[in-house]
Symmetry: C2
Subunit: 323 residues, 2 copies
């Protein structure tokens, strides 16, 4: 990726224009970046009407955006942001090669573990970066995103040997584009640690919110669900240590619990998916953590229990039965 290009010169692809892709892509486009959106079900609507973002930071409408229905129709892009649901990641092998510029970078903005590895197999390890999004948003209609809270992204370089790669010039260049679009950016030296730290929150709160059909505030308000959240966090930390040799401090776990208790009632994305009858991102978040722990022979019975409960529910959800 050419880091010499100005923000306005770097071309972005948004692979998957749901809540996350619509929000970040919309903000970049509004700031003047050259952004090309890949759409599936909303293609016709967005081509005609553009994007609409209702946001706590201020509503905006983009009456006309570069909407594409097929990856082959997109121009080569400097930054290819993967904003699909992970349940569609089997499509990446088709979607990425036509879109990425020779010196471009794929920015994986999804949740979970192990996705950069798969992207690296497709585009090469030097063209992969990870981005951890802390965003509360949902798609409420075709091309219509509602942004409720948060929005910052932590960027980190991928390394095929799982080493910390530090903060690179291209991270700062991409981060600068997002900053110019009003998105708060943090830079992390170690993608692996950042991914495991995100799991510390995602495993308990995505999982328990679905199994208990409830929001974060109620999980934190009940002594039993709060204890479950804490126990799950400890297992994630143990797995990070055993599987990735990353140490997550007890103080980080405490601050995650305290922050969640102070947060406004929040419906994690997996709960929204479950309630809407959509497939849940179980494998990327839970399956990948379980697999890593199993390889390292680290017992994580609480995560495994939650994973299996979710798998049962997901199957019922997809068959359209109630549970």
């Amino acid at each position: 990726m050419s880091i010499r290009r100005s923000a306005l010169g770097r071309r972005y692809a948004i692979i998957g224009t749901g809540a996350l892709g619509g929000f970040y892509g919309g903000r970049l486009a509004r700031a003047g970046c050259d952004v090309h959106f890949l759409l599936h079900s909303d293609y016709e609507h967005v081509r005609e009407h553009g994007l609409r973002v209702d946001s706590v930071d201020g509503d905006f409408v983009l009456p006309s955006v570069h909407a594409c229905g097929r990856a082959e129709d997109m121009p080569r892009c400097d930054v290819v942001a993967v904003t699909l649901k992970t349940t569609a990641n089997h499509l990446l092998g088709e979607l990425l090669p036509p879109v990425i510029a020779d010196d471009g970078v794929v920015l994986v903005l999804q949740n979970g573990l192990g996705i950069e590895e798969r992207v690296a197999e497709i585009v090469g390890a030097d063209r992969v970066m990870g981005g951890l999004c802390f965003l509360c948003a949902s798609k409420v209609g075709p091309g219509h995103i509602r942004h409720l809270d948060y929005g910052y992204i932590t960027l980190a370089e991928y390394d095929s040997q799982a080493r910390p790669r530090g903060i690179t010039e291209r991270m700062r260049a991409i981060g600068g584009d997002f900053k110019s679009a009003g998105i708060r950016i943090q830079y992390a030296e170690d993608l692996v640690l950042a991914r495991w730290k995100k799991l510390i929150w995602n495993v308990p709160f995505n999982g328990l919110s679905v199994v208990l059909n409830t929001t974060t505030d109620r999980i934190m308000a009940n002594e039993h669900s709060r204890a479950l959240a804490e126990g799950l966090m400890r297992e994630v930390a143990a797995a990070a240590r055993a599987a990735a040799e990353r140490k997550i401090e007890e103080s980080f776990i405490r601050s995650q619990l305290d922050d969640t208790a102070r947060m406004a009632p929040y419906s994690p994305s997996m709960l929204l998916d479950c309630r809407a009858g959509r497939p849940m991102e179980i494998e990327a978040i839970f399956g990948a953590a379980l697999g890593a722990a199993a390889t390292a022979k680290c017992p994580v019975p609480r995560i495994e229990t939650l994973y299996r409960l979710l798998k049962f529910m997901d199957e019922g959800n997809r068959r359209g039965t109630t549970f």
Copy 2:
């Protein structure tokens, strides 16, 4: 208890006339035993209309039964069958002393661990017997029981030192009364082992049926919930060994799984309670097992997870909120 009395001479008290008490008490009364029913909400109805049992073994109506609204109004009984829900067991200290004959015996027909211990504190260890009911029945209206399947009881003597007490004459006498009422009876030498073996089934299938809002057949048909059931059974077996020095063979676990897979779709009592918004018997089944395991320092993270999920749900259930 006088074992010389004939079946027709032994007087029975049924403490709690729900599905279980109504079914067994009704069968004993129909067979000619002298049975006195303690009732609460259904007292007026049963005093006027008697009991009605719709049963796979044949329907019957008892137009007139000995219905009592208060324990103080009951005669002293030779066999006092405790058929309350365990969530009402705090009442036993009031209910048992006025009813039990000097040489009578309290027959605990409830699920869970540790109940005989509490009854022994009230009436003395020599006057306690356990009965494990394998019954699928529910109360469908005032004094109206529906018996769907099964019905046999395993009897075992209580011992204050948790030793096997063998098969006693009074067990055979009480067992004979039930047999004369058409109830299949087994005699167990070791109440502690029998109680833990029952938990092997109750923990996974009561718990998972509630958390997944589903029946036993669907739990067994899905690879993930089936694996959870198996993992939970192994933890119960580990706890039995650590906490009670009872060995439950792997072959027993396998046969419980196989039998459940072959069974007709079944809604465990805890699922029926949950769906009806009634309190669930979480403490007697899960809390007691957890407590025993904790005392023995035996880790049971899967049981603990299920317990805490159920406690959250039970609280929501009792507050009348949906979940």
